[in-house]
Symmetry: D2
Subunit: 140 residues, 4 copies
Protein backbone atom coordinates (compact mmCIF):
# COMPACT_ATOMS: atom_id res chain seq x y z
CA UNK A 1 0.00 0.00 0.00
CA UNK A 2 1.09 3.53 -0.67
CA UNK A 3 1.43 5.87 2.27
CA UNK A 4 -1.78 7.36 3.66
CA UNK A 5 -2.80 10.85 2.57
CA UNK A 6 -2.35 13.36 5.38
CA UNK A 7 -5.25 14.85 7.33
CA UNK A 8 -4.33 18.26 5.90
CA UNK A 9 -4.36 17.09 2.30
CA UNK A 10 -7.76 15.39 2.69
CA UNK A 11 -9.09 18.46 4.50
CA UNK A 12 -7.95 20.62 1.57
CA UNK A 13 -9.72 18.35 -0.94
CA UNK A 14 -12.91 18.21 1.09
CA UNK A 15 -12.99 21.95 1.65
CA UNK A 16 -13.08 22.59 -2.09
CA UNK A 17 -16.75 21.59 -2.05
CA UNK A 18 -19.12 24.42 -1.09
CA UNK A 19 -21.52 21.92 0.52
CA UNK A 20 -18.66 20.53 2.60
CA UNK A 21 -17.85 24.06 3.75
CA UNK A 22 -21.47 24.63 4.67
CA UNK A 23 -21.39 21.44 6.74
CA UNK A 24 -18.30 22.71 8.56
CA UNK A 25 -16.37 19.50 7.93
CA UNK A 26 -13.12 18.91 9.81
CA UNK A 27 -11.06 15.83 9.08
CA UNK A 28 -10.02 14.28 12.40
CA UNK A 29 -8.17 11.17 11.23
CA UNK A 30 -7.34 9.32 8.02
CA UNK A 31 -6.65 5.58 8.21
CA UNK A 32 -6.33 2.76 5.74
CA UNK A 33 -9.90 2.46 4.51
CA UNK A 34 -11.11 4.61 7.41
CA UNK A 35 -11.83 8.23 8.12
CA UNK A 36 -13.20 10.31 10.99
CA UNK A 37 -14.80 13.66 10.19
CA UNK A 38 -16.53 16.20 12.41
CA UNK A 39 -19.43 18.32 11.16
CA UNK A 40 -20.24 21.64 12.80
CA UNK A 41 -23.83 22.26 13.87
CA UNK A 42 -25.61 25.23 12.36
CA UNK A 43 -29.17 26.51 12.88
CA UNK A 44 -30.19 25.69 9.31
CA UNK A 45 -29.88 21.97 10.12
CA UNK A 46 -32.99 22.06 12.32
CA UNK A 47 -36.21 20.55 11.05
CA UNK A 48 -38.43 21.16 14.04
CA UNK A 49 -37.97 24.57 15.67
CA UNK A 50 -39.73 23.47 18.89
CA UNK A 51 -37.85 20.23 19.50
CA UNK A 52 -34.70 21.55 17.83
CA UNK A 53 -33.51 18.37 16.28
CA UNK A 54 -31.50 18.03 13.09
CA UNK A 55 -33.13 16.96 9.82
CA UNK A 56 -32.54 13.36 8.83
CA UNK A 57 -31.41 14.62 5.44
CA UNK A 58 -28.36 16.20 7.05
CA UNK A 59 -27.55 12.88 8.68
CA UNK A 60 -28.02 11.12 5.34
CA UNK A 61 -25.61 13.56 3.70
CA UNK A 62 -23.02 12.93 6.42
CA UNK A 63 -23.37 9.14 6.10
CA UNK A 64 -22.94 9.40 2.33
CA UNK A 65 -19.90 11.64 2.33
CA UNK A 66 -18.16 9.95 5.24
CA UNK A 67 -18.58 6.46 3.75
CA UNK A 68 -17.33 7.86 0.42
CA UNK A 69 -14.23 9.50 1.90
CA UNK A 70 -13.33 6.33 3.81
CA UNK A 71 -12.06 5.30 0.38
CA UNK A 72 -9.73 8.28 0.07
CA UNK A 73 -6.64 6.25 0.96
CA UNK A 74 -7.34 4.31 -2.26
CA UNK A 75 -9.17 6.76 -4.51
CA UNK A 76 -7.43 9.99 -3.56
CA UNK A 77 -10.70 11.88 -3.88
CA UNK A 78 -14.47 11.67 -3.48
CA UNK A 79 -16.16 9.31 -5.96
CA UNK A 80 -19.73 8.95 -7.27
CA UNK A 81 -22.30 7.25 -5.06
CA UNK A 82 -24.28 4.48 -6.76
CA UNK A 83 -26.72 4.03 -3.90
CA UNK A 84 -26.87 4.54 -0.14
CA UNK A 85 -29.06 3.64 2.84
CA UNK A 86 -29.46 5.13 6.29
CA UNK A 87 -30.85 3.75 9.54
CA UNK A 88 -31.91 6.34 12.10
CA UNK A 89 -31.27 5.37 15.69
CA UNK A 90 -31.82 8.45 17.83
CA UNK A 91 -32.94 12.08 17.37
CA UNK A 92 -29.95 14.37 16.77
CA UNK A 93 -30.23 17.41 19.01
CA UNK A 94 -28.25 20.67 18.73
CA UNK A 95 -24.54 19.94 18.56
CA UNK A 96 -21.67 18.87 16.34
CA UNK A 97 -21.60 15.38 14.88
CA UNK A 98 -18.67 12.99 14.65
CA UNK A 99 -18.77 10.76 11.57
CA UNK A 100 -16.77 7.53 11.36
CA UNK A 101 -16.44 5.92 7.94
CA UNK A 102 -15.01 2.53 7.02
CA UNK A 103 -14.59 0.42 3.90
CA UNK A 104 -16.58 -2.83 4.18
CA UNK A 105 -15.29 -4.33 0.91
CA UNK A 106 -13.15 -2.54 -1.63
CA UNK A 107 -13.40 -3.53 -5.27
CA UNK A 108 -12.14 -2.60 -8.70
CA UNK A 109 -15.38 -1.29 -10.15
CA UNK A 110 -17.25 -0.41 -6.97
CA UNK A 111 -16.74 -0.53 -3.21
CA UNK A 112 -19.09 -0.88 -0.25
CA UNK A 113 -18.51 1.42 2.74
CA UNK A 114 -20.30 2.17 5.99
CA UNK A 115 -20.50 5.14 8.31
CA UNK A 116 -21.77 5.82 11.82
CA UNK A 117 -22.69 9.19 13.31
CA UNK A 118 -22.27 10.13 16.96
CA UNK A 119 -23.31 13.14 19.00
CA UNK A 120 -20.95 14.94 21.36
CA UNK A 121 -21.93 12.51 24.12
CA UNK A 122 -20.77 9.61 21.97
CA UNK A 123 -24.29 8.28 21.37
CA UNK A 124 -25.01 6.59 18.03
CA UNK A 125 -27.41 8.77 16.01
CA UNK A 126 -27.54 7.04 12.63
CA UNK A 127 -25.59 4.56 10.58
CA UNK A 128 -25.65 3.36 7.03
CA UNK A 129 -23.90 2.20 3.92
CA UNK A 130 -23.20 3.19 0.37
CA UNK A 131 -21.90 1.65 -2.83
CA UNK A 132 -19.33 3.79 -4.60
CA UNK A 133 -18.04 3.76 -8.19
CA UNK A 134 -14.27 3.36 -8.28
CA UNK A 135 -12.21 5.53 -10.62
CA UNK A 136 -10.74 3.82 -13.68
CA UNK A 137 -7.07 2.99 -13.05
CA UNK A 138 -4.65 5.43 -14.64
CA UNK A 139 -2.91 3.99 -17.67
CA UNK A 140 0.85 3.73 -17.28
CA UNK B 1 -61.17 9.71 3.57
CA UNK B 2 -61.08 13.16 5.02
CA UNK B 3 -60.55 16.08 2.69
CA UNK B 4 -56.98 16.71 1.54
CA UNK B 5 -54.96 19.40 3.28
CA UNK B 6 -54.48 22.44 1.06
CA UNK B 7 -51.19 23.29 -0.65
CA UNK B 8 -51.02 26.44 1.47
CA UNK B 9 -51.49 24.61 4.75
CA UNK B 10 -48.79 22.04 3.91
CA UNK B 11 -46.50 24.82 2.74
CA UNK B 12 -46.99 26.59 6.07
CA UNK B 13 -46.13 23.42 8.00
CA UNK B 14 -43.06 22.69 5.88
CA UNK B 15 -41.80 26.24 6.10
CA UNK B 16 -41.62 26.04 9.90
CA UNK B 17 -38.46 23.96 9.52
CA UNK B 18 -35.28 26.02 9.06
CA UNK B 19 -33.76 23.26 6.90
CA UNK B 20 -36.83 23.33 4.69
CA UNK B 21 -36.44 27.09 4.32
CA UNK B 22 -32.79 26.64 3.40
CA UNK B 23 -33.82 24.12 0.72
CA UNK B 24 -36.28 26.67 -0.70
CA UNK B 25 -39.15 24.18 -0.66
CA UNK B 26 -42.34 25.04 -2.52
CA UNK B 27 -45.32 22.68 -2.35
CA UNK B 28 -46.69 22.26 -5.88
CA UNK B 29 -49.44 19.73 -5.31
CA UNK B 30 -50.93 17.63 -2.51
CA UNK B 31 -52.77 14.43 -3.44
CA UNK B 32 -54.07 11.41 -1.59
CA UNK B 33 -50.81 9.76 -0.54
CA UNK B 34 -48.90 11.93 -3.00
CA UNK B 35 -47.02 15.21 -2.99
CA UNK B 36 -44.99 17.30 -5.44
CA UNK B 37 -42.42 19.71 -4.01
CA UNK B 38 -39.91 21.97 -5.72
CA UNK B 39 -36.51 22.74 -4.17
CA UNK B 40 -34.64 25.91 -5.12
CA UNK B 41 -31.01 25.55 -6.16
CA UNK B 42 -28.42 27.42 -4.14
CA UNK B 43 -24.63 27.59 -4.51
CA UNK B 44 -24.05 25.77 -1.21
CA UNK B 45 -25.50 22.59 -2.76
CA UNK B 46 -22.46 22.16 -5.00
CA UNK B 47 -19.93 19.45 -4.17
CA UNK B 48 -17.53 19.91 -7.04
CA UNK B 49 -16.81 23.55 -7.93
CA UNK B 50 -15.39 22.62 -11.36
CA UNK B 51 -18.19 20.35 -12.56
CA UNK B 52 -20.81 22.25 -10.54
CA UNK B 53 -23.01 19.35 -9.63
CA UNK B 54 -25.12 19.04 -6.52
CA UNK B 55 -24.01 16.86 -3.59
CA UNK B 56 -25.76 13.51 -3.33
CA UNK B 57 -26.55 14.34 0.28
CA UNK B 58 -28.88 17.12 -0.88
CA UNK B 59 -30.64 14.63 -3.13
CA UNK B 60 -30.87 12.16 -0.22
CA UNK B 61 -32.43 14.87 1.97
CA UNK B 62 -34.99 15.67 -0.75
CA UNK B 63 -35.87 11.96 -1.21
CA UNK B 64 -36.33 11.58 2.55
CA UNK B 65 -38.49 14.63 3.10
CA UNK B 66 -40.59 14.21 -0.02
CA UNK B 67 -41.34 10.54 0.71
CA UNK B 68 -42.19 11.57 4.28
CA UNK B 69 -44.55 14.36 3.28
CA UNK B 70 -46.36 12.10 0.80
CA UNK B 71 -48.01 10.85 3.99
CA UNK B 72 -49.28 14.30 4.99
CA UNK B 73 -52.81 13.60 3.80
CA UNK B 74 -52.88 10.90 6.52
CA UNK B 75 -50.45 12.17 9.16
CA UNK B 76 -51.04 15.90 8.94
CA UNK B 77 -47.33 16.51 9.53
CA UNK B 78 -43.81 15.21 8.99
CA UNK B 79 -43.06 11.99 10.87
CA UNK B 80 -39.82 10.25 11.96
CA UNK B 81 -37.87 8.30 9.35
CA UNK B 82 -36.94 4.77 10.41
CA UNK B 83 -34.66 4.17 7.43
CA UNK B 84 -34.21 5.35 3.85
CA UNK B 85 -32.33 4.40 0.68
CA UNK B 86 -31.39 6.36 -2.41
CA UNK B 87 -30.40 5.28 -5.92
CA UNK B 88 -28.47 7.86 -7.92
CA UNK B 89 -29.28 7.90 -11.63
CA UNK B 90 -27.69 11.02 -13.12
CA UNK B 91 -25.51 13.92 -11.97
CA UNK B 92 -27.63 16.88 -10.82
CA UNK B 93 -26.31 20.05 -12.39
CA UNK B 94 -27.16 23.64 -11.39
CA UNK B 95 -30.92 24.13 -11.26
CA UNK B 96 -34.06 23.60 -9.21
CA UNK B 97 -35.28 20.08 -8.49
CA UNK B 98 -38.82 18.75 -8.64
CA UNK B 99 -39.54 16.01 -6.08
CA UNK B 100 -42.47 13.64 -6.46
CA UNK B 101 -43.41 11.56 -3.43
CA UNK B 102 -45.89 8.69 -3.17
CA UNK B 103 -47.04 6.23 -0.52
CA UNK B 104 -46.20 2.64 -1.51
CA UNK B 105 -47.99 1.02 1.44
CA UNK B 106 -49.52 2.84 4.34
CA UNK B 107 -49.74 1.12 7.69
CA UNK B 108 -50.76 1.68 11.28
CA UNK B 109 -47.31 1.58 12.86
CA UNK B 110 -45.15 2.43 9.85
CA UNK B 111 -45.55 3.25 6.18
CA UNK B 112 -43.33 2.78 3.13
CA UNK B 113 -43.06 5.68 0.69
CA UNK B 114 -41.02 6.46 -2.41
CA UNK B 115 -39.82 9.63 -4.09
CA UNK B 116 -38.27 10.56 -7.43
CA UNK B 117 -36.28 13.69 -8.23
CA UNK B 118 -36.25 15.43 -11.60
CA UNK B 119 -34.23 18.30 -13.02
CA UNK B 120 -35.82 21.20 -14.89
CA UNK B 121 -35.57 19.20 -18.12
CA UNK B 122 -37.67 16.44 -16.55
CA UNK B 123 -34.78 13.96 -16.36
CA UNK B 124 -34.73 11.49 -13.46
CA UNK B 125 -31.84 12.34 -11.11
CA UNK B 126 -32.38 10.01 -8.18
CA UNK B 127 -35.10 7.91 -6.60
CA UNK B 128 -35.53 6.09 -3.37
CA UNK B 129 -37.65 4.94 -0.50
CA UNK B 130 -38.13 5.37 3.19
CA UNK B 131 -39.95 3.70 6.06
CA UNK B 132 -41.76 6.15 8.33
CA UNK B 133 -43.12 5.81 11.88
CA UNK B 134 -46.82 6.62 12.00
CA UNK B 135 -48.16 8.81 14.80
CA UNK B 136 -50.19 7.08 17.49
CA UNK B 137 -53.90 7.61 16.86
CA UNK B 138 -55.47 10.29 19.05
CA UNK B 139 -57.69 8.86 21.71
CA UNK B 140 -61.34 9.92 21.38
CA UNK C 1 -34.43 -1.71 -29.84
CA UNK C 2 -34.05 -5.29 -30.90
CA UNK C 3 -37.07 -7.54 -30.77
CA UNK C 4 -38.05 -8.85 -27.35
CA UNK C 5 -36.99 -12.34 -26.34
CA UNK C 6 -39.91 -14.75 -26.29
CA UNK C 7 -41.49 -16.02 -23.09
CA UNK C 8 -40.35 -19.52 -24.03
CA UNK C 9 -36.72 -18.51 -24.54
CA UNK C 10 -36.59 -16.67 -21.20
CA UNK C 11 -38.31 -19.60 -19.51
CA UNK C 12 -35.66 -21.94 -20.92
CA UNK C 13 -32.85 -19.71 -19.61
CA UNK C 14 -34.41 -19.35 -16.18
CA UNK C 15 -35.09 -23.07 -15.87
CA UNK C 16 -31.39 -23.86 -16.25
CA UNK C 17 -30.91 -22.70 -12.65
CA UNK C 18 -31.64 -25.39 -10.05
CA UNK C 19 -32.81 -22.74 -7.58
CA UNK C 20 -35.21 -21.38 -10.21
CA UNK C 21 -36.58 -24.89 -10.70
CA UNK C 22 -37.02 -25.27 -6.96
CA UNK C 23 -38.97 -21.99 -6.90
CA UNK C 24 -41.24 -23.31 -9.65
CA UNK C 25 -40.77 -20.20 -11.78
CA UNK C 26 -43.04 -19.66 -14.77
CA UNK C 27 -42.47 -16.68 -17.04
CA UNK C 28 -45.85 -15.05 -17.70
CA UNK C 29 -44.83 -12.07 -19.82
CA UNK C 30 -41.68 -10.38 -21.15
CA UNK C 31 -41.85 -6.68 -21.98
CA UNK C 32 -39.34 -3.98 -22.77
CA UNK C 33 -37.61 -3.61 -19.39
CA UNK C 34 -40.39 -5.57 -17.72
CA UNK C 35 -41.15 -9.14 -16.75
CA UNK C 36 -43.90 -11.04 -14.94
CA UNK C 37 -42.99 -14.33 -13.29
CA UNK C 38 -45.05 -16.71 -11.17
CA UNK C 39 -43.49 -18.76 -8.37
CA UNK C 40 -45.13 -21.98 -7.20
CA UNK C 41 -45.72 -22.40 -3.48
CA UNK C 42 -44.08 -25.36 -1.79
CA UNK C 43 -44.18 -26.48 1.86
CA UNK C 44 -40.46 -25.78 2.35
CA UNK C 45 -41.18 -22.04 1.99
CA UNK C 46 -42.94 -21.93 5.36
CA UNK C 47 -41.19 -20.32 8.31
CA UNK C 48 -43.86 -20.73 10.95
CA UNK C 49 -45.66 -24.07 10.86
CA UNK C 50 -48.55 -22.77 12.98
CA UNK C 51 -49.29 -19.58 11.06
CA UNK C 52 -48.14 -21.11 7.77
CA UNK C 53 -46.62 -18.03 6.24
CA UNK C 54 -43.74 -17.92 3.80
CA UNK C 55 -40.25 -16.94 4.95
CA UNK C 56 -39.20 -13.40 4.05
CA UNK C 57 -36.04 -14.85 2.54
CA UNK C 58 -38.12 -16.48 -0.19
CA UNK C 59 -39.72 -13.13 -0.91
CA UNK C 60 -36.28 -11.49 -0.99
CA UNK C 61 -35.08 -14.10 -3.48
CA UNK C 62 -38.11 -13.45 -5.70
CA UNK C 63 -37.59 -9.67 -5.56
CA UNK C 64 -33.94 -10.11 -6.49
CA UNK C 65 -34.43 -12.46 -9.41
CA UNK C 66 -37.49 -10.73 -10.80
CA UNK C 67 -35.82 -7.30 -10.75
CA UNK C 68 -32.76 -8.89 -12.36
CA UNK C 69 -34.69 -10.57 -15.16
CA UNK C 70 -36.60 -7.36 -15.94
CA UNK C 71 -33.32 -6.53 -17.71
CA UNK C 72 -33.45 -9.62 -19.93
CA UNK C 73 -34.67 -7.67 -22.96
CA UNK C 74 -31.31 -5.84 -22.78
CA UNK C 75 -28.95 -8.33 -21.15
CA UNK C 76 -30.26 -11.58 -22.61
CA UNK C 77 -29.56 -13.34 -19.30
CA UNK C 78 -29.41 -12.97 -15.54
CA UNK C 79 -26.65 -10.65 -14.31
CA UNK C 80 -24.86 -10.22 -10.97
CA UNK C 81 -26.64 -8.31 -8.21
CA UNK C 82 -24.57 -5.54 -6.61
CA UNK C 83 -27.06 -4.89 -3.83
CA UNK C 84 -30.76 -5.24 -3.14
CA UNK C 85 -33.37 -4.10 -0.60
CA UNK C 86 -36.82 -5.41 0.29
CA UNK C 87 -39.78 -3.84 2.05
CA UNK C 88 -42.25 -6.27 3.58
CA UNK C 89 -45.87 -5.17 3.36
CA UNK C 90 -48.04 -8.14 4.35
CA UNK C 91 -47.55 -11.73 5.55
CA UNK C 92 -47.46 -14.16 2.62
CA UNK C 93 -49.75 -17.08 3.33
CA UNK C 94 -49.86 -20.43 1.48
CA UNK C 95 -50.19 -19.86 -2.26
CA UNK C 96 -48.34 -19.01 -5.44
CA UNK C 97 -46.78 -15.57 -5.85
CA UNK C 98 -46.85 -13.31 -8.89
CA UNK C 99 -43.71 -11.20 -9.31
CA UNK C 100 -43.65 -8.08 -11.45
CA UNK C 101 -40.24 -6.66 -12.33
CA UNK C 102 -39.40 -3.35 -14.01
CA UNK C 103 -36.27 -1.40 -14.93
CA UNK C 104 -36.16 1.94 -13.09
CA UNK C 105 -33.04 3.22 -14.86
CA UNK C 106 -30.89 1.25 -17.24
CA UNK C 107 -27.21 2.09 -17.53
CA UNK C 108 -24.02 0.98 -19.21
CA UNK C 109 -22.21 -0.30 -16.13
CA UNK C 110 -25.13 -0.97 -13.82
CA UNK C 111 -28.91 -0.69 -13.82
CA UNK C 112 -31.51 -0.12 -11.11
CA UNK C 113 -34.64 -2.30 -11.18
CA UNK C 114 -37.64 -2.83 -8.94
CA UNK C 115 -40.04 -5.69 -8.30
CA UNK C 116 -43.35 -6.17 -6.53
CA UNK C 117 -44.83 -9.43 -5.27
CA UNK C 118 -48.55 -10.22 -5.14
CA UNK C 119 -50.53 -13.11 -3.70
CA UNK C 120 -53.28 -14.89 -5.65
CA UNK C 121 -55.77 -12.30 -4.41
CA UNK C 122 -53.68 -9.54 -5.97
CA UNK C 123 -52.55 -8.10 -2.63
CA UNK C 124 -49.09 -6.53 -2.43
CA UNK C 125 -46.84 -8.70 -0.24
CA UNK C 126 -43.43 -7.12 -0.66
CA UNK C 127 -41.56 -4.80 -2.98
CA UNK C 128 -37.99 -3.77 -3.46
CA UNK C 129 -35.10 -2.82 -5.64
CA UNK C 130 -31.73 -4.00 -6.77
CA UNK C 131 -28.68 -2.64 -8.56
CA UNK C 132 -27.36 -4.98 -11.25
CA UNK C 133 -23.97 -5.16 -13.01
CA UNK C 134 -24.39 -4.90 -16.77
CA UNK C 135 -22.43 -7.25 -19.03
CA UNK C 136 -19.54 -5.72 -20.96
CA UNK C 137 -20.60 -4.98 -24.54
CA UNK C 138 -19.39 -7.56 -27.05
CA UNK C 139 -16.63 -6.28 -29.26
CA UNK C 140 -17.58 -6.11 -32.92
CA UNK D 1 -30.06 -8.82 31.45
CA UNK D 2 -31.57 -12.26 31.77
CA UNK D 3 -29.42 -15.28 31.05
CA UNK D 4 -28.78 -16.10 27.41
CA UNK D 5 -30.87 -18.79 25.76
CA UNK D 6 -28.86 -21.95 25.13
CA UNK D 7 -27.65 -23.00 21.69
CA UNK D 8 -29.89 -26.05 21.94
CA UNK D 9 -33.01 -24.07 22.76
CA UNK D 10 -32.46 -21.65 19.88
CA UNK D 11 -31.70 -24.58 17.58
CA UNK D 12 -35.01 -26.17 18.58
CA UNK D 13 -36.92 -22.95 17.85
CA UNK D 14 -35.20 -22.44 14.50
CA UNK D 15 -35.73 -26.04 13.42
CA UNK D 16 -39.51 -25.66 13.76
CA UNK D 17 -39.47 -23.72 10.48
CA UNK D 18 -39.54 -25.93 7.37
CA UNK D 19 -37.50 -23.33 5.45
CA UNK D 20 -34.89 -23.37 8.20
CA UNK D 21 -34.72 -27.16 7.93
CA UNK D 22 -34.30 -26.91 4.17
CA UNK D 23 -31.42 -24.47 4.72
CA UNK D 24 -29.78 -26.96 7.08
CA UNK D 25 -29.32 -24.36 9.81
CA UNK D 26 -27.08 -25.18 12.77
CA UNK D 27 -26.74 -22.70 15.61
CA UNK D 28 -23.06 -22.40 16.46
CA UNK D 29 -23.15 -19.73 19.17
CA UNK D 30 -25.63 -17.45 20.93
CA UNK D 31 -24.32 -14.23 22.47
CA UNK D 32 -25.87 -11.09 23.87
CA UNK D 33 -27.29 -9.52 20.71
CA UNK D 34 -25.21 -11.88 18.59
CA UNK D 35 -25.62 -15.23 16.88
CA UNK D 36 -23.55 -17.48 14.62
CA UNK D 37 -25.40 -19.94 12.39
CA UNK D 38 -24.12 -22.36 9.76
CA UNK D 39 -26.16 -23.21 6.66
CA UNK D 40 -25.59 -26.47 4.82
CA UNK D 41 -25.04 -26.31 1.06
CA UNK D 42 -27.46 -28.19 -1.13
CA UNK D 43 -27.62 -28.52 -4.93
CA UNK D 44 -30.91 -26.57 -5.15
CA UNK D 45 -29.04 -23.41 -4.07
CA UNK D 46 -27.24 -23.18 -7.39
CA UNK D 47 -28.30 -20.55 -9.90
CA UNK D 48 -25.78 -21.23 -12.66
CA UNK D 49 -25.14 -24.93 -13.30
CA UNK D 50 -21.92 -24.21 -15.23
CA UNK D 51 -20.26 -21.89 -12.70
CA UNK D 52 -21.96 -23.59 -9.76
CA UNK D 53 -22.45 -20.57 -7.59
CA UNK D 54 -25.24 -20.03 -5.10
CA UNK D 55 -28.21 -17.78 -5.89
CA UNK D 56 -28.11 -14.36 -4.28
CA UNK D 57 -31.60 -15.01 -2.98
CA UNK D 58 -30.25 -17.73 -0.71
CA UNK D 59 -27.70 -15.26 0.62
CA UNK D 60 -30.43 -12.68 1.13
CA UNK D 61 -32.47 -15.21 3.10
CA UNK D 62 -29.48 -16.02 5.29
CA UNK D 63 -28.77 -12.33 5.95
CA UNK D 64 -32.40 -11.76 6.88
CA UNK D 65 -32.76 -14.69 9.24
CA UNK D 66 -29.36 -14.33 10.87
CA UNK D 67 -29.87 -10.61 11.55
CA UNK D 68 -33.32 -11.43 12.91
CA UNK D 69 -32.11 -14.19 15.25
CA UNK D 70 -29.32 -11.97 16.60
CA UNK D 71 -32.21 -10.52 18.61
CA UNK D 72 -33.15 -13.85 20.16
CA UNK D 73 -31.46 -13.06 23.47
CA UNK D 74 -34.05 -10.25 23.77
CA UNK D 75 -37.04 -11.47 21.76
CA UNK D 76 -36.89 -15.19 22.50
CA UNK D 77 -38.01 -15.94 18.94
CA UNK D 78 -37.89 -14.80 15.32
CA UNK D 79 -39.74 -11.53 14.69
CA UNK D 80 -41.19 -9.88 11.56
CA UNK D 81 -38.81 -8.12 9.19
CA UNK D 82 -39.84 -4.59 8.24
CA UNK D 83 -37.18 -4.21 5.54
CA UNK D 84 -33.75 -5.56 4.69
CA UNK D 85 -30.82 -4.84 2.36
CA UNK D 86 -27.97 -6.96 1.08
CA UNK D 87 -24.59 -6.08 -0.41
CA UNK D 88 -22.97 -8.83 -2.48
CA UNK D 89 -19.20 -8.99 -2.16
CA UNK D 90 -18.06 -12.23 -3.81
CA UNK D 91 -19.62 -15.17 -5.69
CA UNK D 92 -20.58 -17.97 -3.30
CA UNK D 93 -19.30 -21.27 -4.68
CA UNK D 94 -20.32 -24.78 -3.54
CA UNK D 95 -19.95 -25.12 0.23
CA UNK D 96 -21.54 -24.38 3.57
CA UNK D 97 -21.95 -20.79 4.73
CA UNK D 98 -21.27 -19.32 8.16
CA UNK D 99 -23.58 -16.45 9.11
CA UNK D 100 -22.72 -13.97 11.85
CA UNK D 101 -25.51 -11.74 13.09
CA UNK D 102 -25.32 -8.75 15.44
CA UNK D 103 -27.68 -6.14 16.83
CA UNK D 104 -26.68 -2.64 15.69
CA UNK D 105 -29.29 -0.80 17.80
CA UNK D 106 -32.02 -2.43 19.80
CA UNK D 107 -35.26 -0.55 20.37
CA UNK D 108 -38.70 -0.92 21.91
CA UNK D 109 -40.71 -0.88 18.70
CA UNK D 110 -38.07 -1.96 16.20
CA UNK D 111 -34.41 -2.92 16.13
CA UNK D 112 -31.68 -2.67 13.50
CA UNK D 113 -29.40 -5.70 13.03
CA UNK D 114 -26.66 -6.69 10.63
CA UNK D 115 -25.28 -9.98 9.35
CA UNK D 116 -22.23 -11.11 7.41
CA UNK D 117 -21.82 -14.35 5.47
CA UNK D 118 -18.54 -16.24 5.06
CA UNK D 119 -17.53 -19.25 3.02
CA UNK D 120 -15.58 -22.17 4.46
CA UNK D 121 -12.33 -20.31 3.69
CA UNK D 122 -13.50 -17.39 5.83
CA UNK D 123 -14.00 -15.04 2.89
CA UNK D 124 -16.77 -12.44 3.14
CA UNK D 125 -19.53 -13.30 0.62
CA UNK D 126 -22.27 -10.83 1.46
CA UNK D 127 -23.38 -8.56 4.26
CA UNK D 128 -26.45 -6.56 5.05
CA UNK D 129 -28.97 -5.22 7.49
CA UNK D 130 -32.56 -5.46 8.46
CA UNK D 131 -35.08 -3.59 10.58
CA UNK D 132 -37.16 -5.87 12.80
CA UNK D 133 -40.48 -5.31 14.60
CA UNK D 134 -40.13 -5.97 18.32
CA UNK D 135 -42.81 -7.97 20.12
CA UNK D 136 -45.13 -6.05 22.40
CA UNK D 137 -44.02 -6.43 26.02
CA UNK D 138 -46.08 -8.96 27.97
CA UNK D 139 -48.41 -7.34 30.44
CA UNK D 140 -47.69 -8.24 34.03
Amino acid sequence: MESLPSVDSVQALLTRGPFHQWLGLQVLRVGDGEIDIKATWRPEWVVNPDAGYTHGGILAALIDLCADWALVSTTGRGVPTIDMRVDYHRAAMKGDIVCKGKVVKGGKQFSVCEASLFNEQGQLLASGRGVYAMPAPKSA
